[in-house]
């Protein structure tokens, strides 16, 4: 029993030297910061790049975050709604379900343009989020 206690004391004493000094701690920290910057390069600034586009096209890893998913889906849904509203205004005459507006002409051309726009955004979003 006493021998076991002596051994435990030896293990403890030997371990007392196993403390990183400030130089070591700082050196590892700098290496980690460099690795971090390589992994997460500084974000592009500006509302469109960082805000709107950032929320709409999260990285695959960011998609795992519930908060990020909520942001993306909210902004996506809002944009989708706006596009549909604009399509209705421009595409359908007021007496046929469209809203009364300046360009209330109706016709196939605006429908095609806005459908392509919506499709383009969807494809762009899908491709970007695979990064």
């Amino acid at each position: 029993m006493r021998e076991n206690l002596k051994l435990a004391q030896l293990i403890y004493q030997v371990g007392r030297d196993g403390v990183p000094n400030e130089d070591v701690s700082e050196r590892i920290r700098k290496t980690l910061e460099a690795e971090w910057k390589a992994k997460w390069p500084p974000q592009k600034t500006g509302f469109l790049r960082q805000g709107l586009f950032g929320w709409l096209s999260p990285k695959k890893s960011e998609w795992r975050s519930t908060r990020q998913r909520e942001k993306t889906l909210t902004i996506g849904l809002a944009l989708f709604t706006i596009i549909v509203m604009v399509m209705i205004v421009f595409t359908f005459p007021a007496d046929n379900g469209g809203l009364p507006g300046a360009a209330n002409q109706g016709g196939l051309f605006p429908l095609i343009v806005f459908s392509l726009l919506a499709l383009g955004i969807a494809v762009w979003w899908f491709v970007k989020r695979k990064r």
């Binding site: 076991n4 051994l7 403390v19 590892i28 910061e33 690795e35 971090w36 992994k39």
Partner: protein, 193 residues
């Protein structure tokens, strides 16, 4: 060491460990650095007990680089401290695997470095001899025994904390600890002879 570095529900700089890990996973460097500052001593000491002194810094650094690279994939199913411990053990195993050298060969290079570097540091030399001797003994132990000794001494966990972490009763942990120390004593006796 009275306070455990692997405290379960700890608050680090006023934030919960879980939120720090989540923030770090989302690319927040400050959160990662806070985790690093908190866990460095425990990781360093575990590595200290396991690899030769001249390589402790590098292996510790590799542990944290590994954490940095994979923190996004940490889903929080296990505790962060458990995950970190697994990464540390894996890096220690990699250290011996990559060098393709046995632990005994490495201990010899350790002794040679020590003799050539510091002929007048007798006190340090005695301590390092004990360290090498002890490391060899620990290496001979079963994983369960080595782990309980490392949890107790490298991480400073109390028996109650070890019991909680391992999902064992307090008596079982104490009993395993006693057997581990006795076995280590036998191993050290054998290697000395």
């Amino acid at each position: 060491m009275n306070q455990s570095n692997y405290e379960v529900s700890l608050l680090i700089k006023g934030k919960s460990e879980k939120s720090l890990v989540q923030l770090a996973g989302e690319g927040n460097l400050d959160a990662f650095t806070t985790l690093y500052d908190h866990y460095l001593p425990a990781v360093y000491k575990r590595v200290w007990y396991s690899v030769p002194r001249q390589d402790v810094d590098d292996v510790t650094q590799n542990v944290f680089i590994n954490v940095l690279k994979s923190i996004q994939s940490f889903r929080g199913d296990a505790k962060f401290s458990t995950w970190l411990r697994t990464i540390t053990n894996r890096q220690i195993a990699n250290y011996y695997r990559q060098g393709r050298r046995t632990k005994k060969e490495i201990e010899w290079s350790d002794i040679e470095t020590k003799i050539s570097d510091a002929p007048n540091q007798l006190t340090n030399t005695a301590r390092e001899d004990e360290m090498i001797y002890l490391r060899q003994g620990l290496d001979q132990l079963k994983d369960d025994y080595r782990e309980i000794i490392l949890l107790r001494f490298a991480e400073g966990l109390k028996f109650v904390e070890i019991a909680e972490f391992k999902g064992l009763s307090l008596e079982a942990v104490k009993s395993r600890y006693r057997r581990a120390i006795s076995t280590l004593r036998t191993e050290l006796g054998d290697s000395a002879g």
